[in-house]
């Protein structure tokens, strides 16, 4: 379990992480979602002891990361798959990790097989690896110590569709066996398909968090009709708050209630459905747009 409490990180006048509190629970995949530069990477760096927080705490199973005697055996970390010595072979990278953690040499071959890197590929230098191969190597390095917590920053970057599918299945199985997974992404869809819990961060602050069901259920109902303004008036008369935007109308009422109101008002519906994640998506789009207005270049810089 990862417990983040009132975590704040300030660089000069810039607040990279602003009073962030959340928990990544055991046996679940927690998606850490936010646009580039929102503070995901900085939060993760604090969790693994690479960056000192200005205030607040990040604990793994109740302990500071730096207090873990041999962290690799408890926590698998992948922050940046490109952060490997270009002149070292993939096998050497894993061999160094295995040796540092005190694992038998055979573990290297096991992990290479597990992430689908061939013997030939493992003997190439990382310089010649594609981003997808680097991600696989990074995952192998994170899993080599058989940890029960995984912290992965944008692990799907550079993976082909089959690779993304493979990673998704791997993480699912891992969490189902009782592991804790925290993975970040700037892509809503990626988080939506794999996560049990979602934490949304924007400009260093948490803007939403909860189980995926909670966040998606909050979205309400989406309606299209021939005479949308008439439906809006009927809903307002029935005391149901609604939001008319373009050719769709959104409301927090259930599709059933909306259907009843439409029938009584004699408005023909052309579409009526639960607005799956539309609320989340809108919120996320707003966040992304906001951070782009703030200057995309600086946002990118923070993400690095």
């Amino acid at each position: 379990m990862i417990t983040i409490e009132s975590l704040t990180k300030r660089y000069g006048t810039h607040l990279a992480v602003d009073d962030v509190t959340f928990t990544a629970r055991t046996g679940r995949i927690t998606g850490f979602l936010g646009p580039n530069g929102a503070g995901k990477s900085t939060s993760m760096r604090v969790m693994v002891g690479l960056t000192r927080p200005t205030s607040g705490t990040a604990l793994i199973d109740g302990r500071r990361f730096a207090d873990l005697p041999n962290p690799g055996l408890d926590v698998g970390v992948l922050l940046d798959a490109s952060a490997q010595h270009a002149g070292r072979t993939g096998r050497e990278v894993l061999s160094i990790a295995a040796r540092t953690m005190g694992l038998p040499r055979g573990r290297v071959d096991e992990m290479l097989a597990a992430v689908g890197l061939t013997v030939d590929e493992s003997e190439r230098r990382v310089r010649n690896y594609s981003l997808g191969m680097r991600q696989r190597l990074g995952i192998a390095a994170a899993l080599i110590g058989d940890p029960h917590v995984l912290i992965l920053d944008e692990p799907a970057n550079g993976l082909d569709p089959a690779g993304i599918r493979w990673m998704r299945d791997m993480l699912r199985g891992y969490a189902d066996r009782g592991g804790t997974v925290l993975l970040s992404s700037h892509l809503l869809h990626e988080i939506e398909v794999v996560a049990d819990d979602i934490v949304v961060i924007g400009n260093g602050r948490i803007v939403a968090q909860g189980t995926k069901e909670e966040l998606l259920a909050a979205a309400g109902t989406l309606v299209r009709a021939r005479d949308l303004p008439a439906l809006a008036t009927a809903l307002t008369h029935a005391g149901i708050a609604n939001n008319l935007g373009g050719d769709t109308l959104r409301t927090d009422a259930s599709p059933e209630t909306v259907g009843d109101v439409a029938l009584r008002a004699g408005v023909a519906l052309t579409e009526l459905r639960a607005a799956d994640g539309a609320g989340l998506e809108e919120m996320f789009l707003e966040l992304t747009a906001a951070s782009q207005r703030d200057g995309h270049a600086s946002a990118e810089g923070q993400a690095a």
């Binding site: 970390v77 922050l79 952060a83 002149g87 540092t100 953690m101 689908g116 899993l143 690779g163």
Partner: protein
């Protein structure tokens, strides 16, 4: 696409008592890291090849009647005075320049321990390399003397060998210091060459024209005072020069660099 799954079940969250990573293991890992990269491999191979070339050159060009062990030892040692400091530099800077620090310092979230392991392995590799150079020099002396038809002269005492070891060790430490201070491979290597090749010229010229500097040089020019170690006859003043200039050029920058290393972010 692999269909292999991760077989091992993730451990339950029950606390397990774990052993801390032993320091000897960290040193072993750092030693492995010095040689398993292309840069590390060619540095040490290049150093060894250069030692052999220097030996052959000494046999070919040294006047046969004057050939002695000191000639071989110093010829073989010259490539090492360049290779060893660069190894000292890369050992530290690659964690930042190649960004491997991201995984190194997460596997071992105590930078002090990693840096000490690096320092010890750097000095160990330095000592082994110099021992290697002295052996190659000895073989060269035997072969060279046999070719020249003279009996080999062993003019290098144990004391002198230790002084050479100290001088090369200080050079390597200087590289290490620049590494922790600059934490960028290219920057630190350029810094070293400025220190080793450019500064002596400037200081030398200054000493030649300014009397006051000539008197001071021993105290403030570390390169100058550590080169005296190769001369074998050091006075008490020479040692004092070495100590004071070493404090300025080596000890203080090293302490500053270590402090920066502890706090700097690995991006």
């Amino acid at each position: 696409m692999s269909t292999t799954t991760i077989e091992r079940p993730a451990a339950t969250a029950t606390p397990v008592v774990r052993e801390a990573i032993p320091t000897a293991r960290l040193m072993g890992v750092e030693l492995q890291k010095m040689f398993d990269t292309r840069a590390g491999f060619w540095l040490i191979t290049g150093g060894a090849i250069a030692s052999l070339v220097a030996t052959i050159a000494t046999i070919l060009f040294d006047p046969h009647n004057a050939m002695d062990y000191g000639d071989f030892a110093s010829a073989v040692g010259i490539p090492l005075t360049i290779v060893l400091p660069i190894m000292g530099i890369l050992n530290v800077t690659s964690e930042w320049s190649q960004r491997t620090g991201l995984s190194t310092f997460t596997m071992v979230p105590h930078r002090g321990r990693v840096i000490v392991a690096k320092l010890v392995t750097t000095l160990f590799v330095g000592a082994v390399s110099i021992a290697f150079a002295l052996v190659v020099g000895a073989l060269g002396n035997l072969v060279g003397s046999a070719i020249a038809g003279i009996s080999p002269r062993w003019d290098l005492g144990v004391g002198q060998m230790l002084l050479i070891l100290l001088a090369d060790g200080l050079g390597m430490l200087m590289g290490f210091t620049l590494g922790v201070l600059i934490r960028n491979s290219a920057g630190a290597i350029v810094g070293y060459f400025v220190y080793a090749l450019v500064l002596p010229g400037i200081f030398g010229a200054l000493a030649a024209y300014q009397d006051w500097f000539a008197r001071l040089q021993g105290w403030i020019d570390f390169q100058f005072s550590s080169t005296r170690l190769y001369d074998a006859h050091l006075t008490g003043t020479d040692w004092a020069h070495l100590g004071v200039s070493g404090l300025i050029w080596l000890v203080i920058p090293l302490l500053v660099g270590l402090r920066l290393t502890m706090r700097s972010e690995v991006k």
